[in-house]
């Protein structure tokens, strides 16, 4: 028989405060009944401890659950989504601002014709100048007036 004033279950379960604990320990050193009771309680708790914790069979899944998915408007508040929106807007603005003017084929053709005409005119002038010089040399060399 153990002494009623000592709570050996609380002692074995670590629920006694420092002074109570020391008092109980001092008592058990002199009381065979209480030592026996404490030994039985400890044996019971140690035997219970043979039951090992089991691993959880599968991870508790929350990320995939609907309730944890962000609401549609929360998607727009995500930093990554906001950054993507800014980049996309910048690309679009750049595209509109730097777009080349509309091409007018008639204008191009007129410019080409004008350039060709100028070149042809320059060539004809050059040929005429050469012809005049040649005729001038011929006239001087032969004394024949060639026209």
């Amino acid at each position: 028989m153990s002494c009623e004033q000592y709570d050996w279950k609380a002692y074995a379960l670590g629920e006694l405060a420092g002074s109570e604990r020391r008092e109980a320990e001092a008592h058990s050193a002199t009381c065979e009944g209480c030592r026996g009771e404490l030994a039985h309680v400890r044996l019971t708790i140690e035997t219970l401890a043979v039951l090992r914790e089991e691993e959880v069979p599968r991870r508790i899944a929350f990320v995939s659950d609907k309730v944890f998915e962000p609401r549609w408007w929360q998607t727009f508040l995500r930093p990554s989504f906001a950054a993507a929106c800014v980049i996309a807007a910048a690309i679009l603005a750049h595209g509109f601002m730097m777009r080349p003017a509309a091409v007018d084929n008639a204008e191009i053709q007129a410019a080409v014709n004008k350039a060709v005409a100028e070149v042809q005119q320059r060539n004809e002038d050059a040929v005429n100048r050469v012809d005049k010089k040649v005729m001038s040399f011929y006239n001087v060399a032969t004394g024949i007036k060639y026209q």
Binding site: H40, T47, V50, L51, E53, R58, R59, I60, F62, P70
Partner: protein, 178 residues
């Protein structure tokens, strides 16, 4: 450089703001304890898994109601307790498990001792078994158990001490038969 593990209260604060990753980390810290508590209480792995899932879902939804993040553990087990007993109430009463006795004169194998413990636990009432689970296996203090079970500390001690007396009678008998 000193690495400090993120405290539960920090994870709770982030989870309250909708950070699911923080809550997932919180789940990974507590799921094994909750699952084992439920497993011993409802005695069925699938039920324990389903109830665990339900517990963590309800805990997430109720996080804004958690007054003191320091007491997250007791609060979480309170939810687990409610869910487990909700399941137990829905179940039909089962027949009492027969007690398996050790064979006289030989050393019990660890698996046999485990079975003896499981059987002894199943012979307890649900209230008594839960008190043992919370104290011996989960290490909660009497005050925390009272919070989880919504009852006075005196009731907690009464259930636990009765359970230990019953277990002592069964398990010490097993040892004496060796």
């Amino acid at each position: 450089m000193i690495f400090r593990e993120v405290e539960d209260r920090d994870l709770i604060a982030k989870a309250r703001k909708g950070n699911v990753e923080s809550y997932n980390l919180l789940v990974s810290r507590w799921e094994k304890r909750v699952f084992n508590y439920l497993l011993r209480l409802v005695s069925n792995r699938e039920d324990a898994m389903d109830v665990s899932q339900e517990v963590f879902l309800k805990a997430y939804q109720s996080l804004p109601k958690l007054d003191d993040p320091e007491r997250f553990g007791a609060w979480l087990f309170r939810i687990a307790h409610n869910e487990a007993f909700s399941l137990l109430r829905r179940r039909k009463p089962e027949g009492e498990m027969p007690v398996e006795r050790g064979t006289v004169g030989r050393q019990l194998l660890p698996i046999e001792l485990s079975l003896a413990v499981e059987t002894a636990l199943k012979r307890l009432s649900e209230d008594q078994r839960e008190a043992v689970l919370l104290k011996v296996y989960q290490g909660f203090k009497f005050e925390e158990m009272a919070e989880i079970l919504s009852c006075p500390v005196s009731t907690v001690k009464s259930r636990l001490y009765t359970a230990l007396d019953l277990l002592k009678a069964t398990l010490c008998e097993v040892h004496h038969e060796l």
